[in-house]
Amino acid sequence: MHIPDGFINVATAAGAGVVAASGLGASLRRTGRDLSERQIPFAGLTAAFIFAVQMLNFPVAAGTSGHLLGGSLAAILLGPWLGALAVSVVIFVQALMFADGGIFALGLNVLNMALVTALVGWGVFRSLVKVLPRKSSAVMIASMLAGAISVVASSLAFVVQYALGGEGGAPLRAVFQAMVGVHSLIGIGEGVITALAVGAVLAVRPDLVKGVSDLELPRLATAPSRRSIFAFVTTGLVTAVALVFLVAPIASGDPDGLERVAIDTGFIESAQEHPLGGPLADYGVSGIDNEETGTVLAGAIGVGATFVVGLIAATILRRRRSA
């Protein structure tokens, strides 16, 4: 989903540009000296790899197809910062040399498709992989969820941007349903492919998977402790609840989000008072009791909650282990 120019107003696109630029700046600082020393060719080849893999269209339900975003895959393989840089470069090149995705919308696209996917994917992956048993099957489960959640998070980021400064007057709820609905399905594909690809690398060159570089997988493949099983179950449960929470509003309708949006125009009530293109204040004040915004917030909170719970579980577990 490359946002073209004109979809989102100037203020929001510029704001996203600033956020994306600081995200890239942070990534550059984090990768730091090590990057310029030896990792430039690796990052470049990974970017080429992601570009190639993005051509992979996979069938989703109801005749639609999605393609891999690759953000969480890059993050798991290279670490979140280098992964985000590699995907950002892909998006830059697509915009400048292939006219794919807007020029002024570059900030939006880098934010949604590189930074959000890489950081959310990495966060989910690391949270899970620390609490799951140290087995490659667990790494694959973590990769799958990281891939799936990162795509949904990316589509949510778009919905938030549309709420802040969307042009064209589509009702926010319709945008939410279409974007998050379709991307929940695409997310499943992304998750499965991410998991299988990570699994394939893990089988041959486990040293290349940055996300497990500190885990010493083979040695730790012993029986999991009762505590880690408990944590696994809790995290899995919370993730599932969050996913259901997210997908439920869409799943209740027609599985094909866009088509449903096109047919069903019956929910047009409250959005007049919701000036699209309005500033953040509007969104906050008049938004809470407004159904569309409520749904978006709910979705955002769902993903955020998963993330936070995973992190807390991981932190507790790490403390206990080191104690």
């Binding site: 690796f42 080849l45 970017a47 290349l208 949006v261 047009i268």
Partner: protein
């Protein structure tokens, strides 16, 4: 998604536009796009102005219209999306033949189609008239961090190599009867993606050795920038400046 033909958008030529330094064209493109995006949808005259600017540039660039228009087709999925808007939009509705459409939605569709198409047209023109290494040099001139430019240059260099390896794998899979029909068929594709990553990474290791062998010491040396005369900046930015002026007028009127 575009295919992996690193030069699919490039049209070889030596026109005025081709010869303009890439940095100037990049700044001009950004100015043009910002102007287009910031224009109110009702200001139809402004969009006619932008279209005229783009057409003049197209003629000056000597890029054939047919070439330009087929490359512009990348815009199509969004036009499809925009065409839905009149049906899902809100507020007063008007009859359009047998259909009832929203006035706001109609305006929204026009807004998206006009802005996305004009901006994509400008991007296509840049890509058609600028060689990839020149775009990279232009970015580095515009102070894009050297590391990002370096990653991009490696990416572009190895795009076809990696995509070629991927294509060969998939041909080999197809030759043995593989065809993706449903979700159950993802596995071989994903596993081949994993294998492709390993090959890409190992090539990265060899490339790094080749860089060391030729004295790489961690400092990425970009070549000296060609100097851009002030007159080139001024001349090159005329279309962008005119677009911004139109935009300002459209917002004030």
């Amino acid at each position: 998604m575009s295919g992996v033909h690193a030069h699919a958008l490039h049209f070889h030529g030596h026109s005025l536009i081709h010869r303009l330094p890439a940095a100037v064209k990049l700044v001009g493109l950004l100015a043009f796009v910002v102007a287009v995006v910031a224009t109110p949808a009702q200001a139809v005259w402004a969009f006619s102005g932008y279209t005229l600017i783009l057409m003049v540039l197209l003629v000056l660039s000597e890029v054939p219209a047919r070439f330009f228009l087929t490359r512009l087709a990348i815009d199509l999925p969004f036009i499809a999306f925009a065409l839905l808007l009149p049906f899902v939009g809100e507020g007063p509705r008007v009859a359009l033949g047998p259909l009832s459409v929203s006035v706001a939605g109609l305006l929204g569709a026009w807004n998206l189609i006009a802005k996305a198409t004009l901006s994509a047209g400008a991007s296509v023109l840049l890509a058609a008239t600028t060689e990839v290494p020149d775009i990279l040099a232009g970015l580095s001139r515009l102070r894009v961090p050297a590391v990002l430019v370096a990653i991009a240059s490696f990416m572009i260099r190895y795009l076809e190599v990696v995509a070629g390896e991927f294509r060969r794998t998939r041909i080999a899979m197809a030759a043995r009867g593989y065809q993706a029909r449903s979700a159950l068929d993802w596995k071989p594709v994903a596993v081949s993606a994993g294998a492709l990553f390993i090959r890409s990474f190992e090539r990265g290791e060899r490339v790094y050795q080749a860089m060391l062998a030729r004295g790489y010491d961690g400092n990425w040396r970009t070549g000296a920038h060609e100097t851009i005369a002030r007159s080139q900046w001024l001349a090159g930015l005329i279309p962008g400046i005119v677009a911004v002026a139109i935009m300002l007028a459209s917002r004030l009127l």
